[in-house]
């Protein structure tokens, strides 16, 4: 059995369900700009689904890593727009810089740090170079994590349960940590474990959407 396909495919579907349910909540009950947050997770879902299919068609493996990185960067640009939404000027600047830096990253990724993934025991090992790993980790630490925490705060602002913000922040933080871990590891058991952690985190996130929907009154 191709574990990589099963793992990436299920996680990709879970991301898609999470993003689409969040999109509907954002449209009906939250601020409109939070829809970009849902788009970022759709990008992440697409990256995972591409990796899933690449793991059963290994000829497509190297291209899939580049494509996955592009979707990851696109998702990060969406999150930048969420992070800097309060100031229109800053938002434009952040998105512009994001696009320029992303193009630069893709260029060096293709030109100097070409992906060298392989499949071992049915598990896709990214085998990412150190410098690329560091850049991707920084992306998670400085964009995905703060954006997730900000969204957690925005969502729970209207719910007066003491400490719910902390519960949400916790879920979002561990999701980001587990995604970063997944990219870092090169050994099969660690990749499988970080997949399990990511899966559990997203089960919590999926249910959190249901709770938000129930607790926040409709704004329309």
């Amino acid at each position: 059995m191709n574990l990589a396909f099963v793992g990436f495919f299920i996680t990709g579907i879970v991301f898609t369900i999470y993003a689409s349910t969040f999109y509907h909540i954002a449209r009906k009950k939250l601020h409109g700009y939070l829809r970009n947050y849902a788009f970022s997770y759709i990008c992440l879902a697409l990256a995972f689904l591409i990796w899933a299919f690449a793991s059963i068609y290994p000829i497509f493996l190297i291209d899939s890593i580049i494509l996955g990185n592009i979707f990851l960067l696109l998702g990060s640009i969406f999150l930048l727009s969420v992070l800097f939404n309060s100031n229109k000027y800053l938002k434009c600047l952040a998105v512009f810089n994001g696009v320029v830096l992303s193009l630069g990253f893709i260029y060096i990724r293709v030109k100097y740090f070409a992906p060298t993934p392989y499949i071992e025991s049915g598990v896709l090992v990214f085998n990412t170079q150190l410098i690329i790993r560091i850049i991707l980790d920084l992306l998670f630490i400085f964009i995905w994590l703060p954006a997730n925490l900000m969204v957690a705060k925005t969502i729970t602002k209207n719910i007066k349960i003491d400490g719910l913000n902390y519960a949400y922040s916790f879920i979002y933080s561990v999701s980001t940590v587990s995604a970063a871990l997944l990219i870092n590891f090169k050994t099969v058991p660690m990749i499988v474990l970080s997949f399990v952690v990511l899966g559990i985190s997203f089960i919590m996130l999926l249910y959190s959407n249901y709770v938000i929907n129930k607790l926040i009154p409709s704004q329309k």
């Binding site: 400490g163 519960a167 587990s178 590891f185 129930k214 607790l215």
Partner: protein
């Protein structure tokens, strides 16, 4: 002599000493979903989630710093593992404490229990991953 009695629990109104009878609540084998859209207000304030996330956050940061040390000893591996276990169990404990009757009325009891169990497992797994990787970096297994 007629005397009114008050019996704790789910009972029908007491009429007299001799007529007092307790009507048990029906046993529900498959309860429906938790109530939703309950009028909030005071009930919300009674559901208090202990703010331990920062503690957990700093634990993970500390573990990552230890993990970054190239020469992670066996002793530190066990420290990370046991700390992860303790923090995980404490997290489950705190979340289950928060999941009280008021949380049920608000419809968040199951959510809090889920976050407790899921969060506890995740904390332990992350510690395990960090500990094992740090240890193996320092003591690579000699292959062929």
């Amino acid at each position: 002599m007629t005397e009114e009695l008050y019996v704790k629990g789910p009972v029908t109104p007491i009429v007299s000493e001799t007529q007092a009878r307790v009507v048990p609540e029906p046993i529900v084998l498959f309860p429906s979903a938790e109530p939703s859209n309950v009028e909030a207000g005071d009930v919300e304030k009674k559901v208090k989630i202990t703010k331990i996330s920062f503690f957990v956050f700093w634990y993970i940061v500390a573990a990552c710093i230890i993990f970054a040390i190239p020469d992670l000893s066996g002793f530190m591996f066990w420290v990370i593992l046991i700390m992860g276990l303790l923090v995980g169990v404490e997290f489950i404990n705190q979340m289950f404490r928060s999941a009280n009757k008021d949380a049920y009325n608000l419809g968040v009891k199951f959510f809090l229990c889920l976050v407790g169990v899921g969060g506890g497992i995740v904390i332990f797994f992350i510690s395990f991953i960090i500990g094992v990787t740090g240890y193996l970096n320092a003591h690579p297994i000699q292959g062929d």
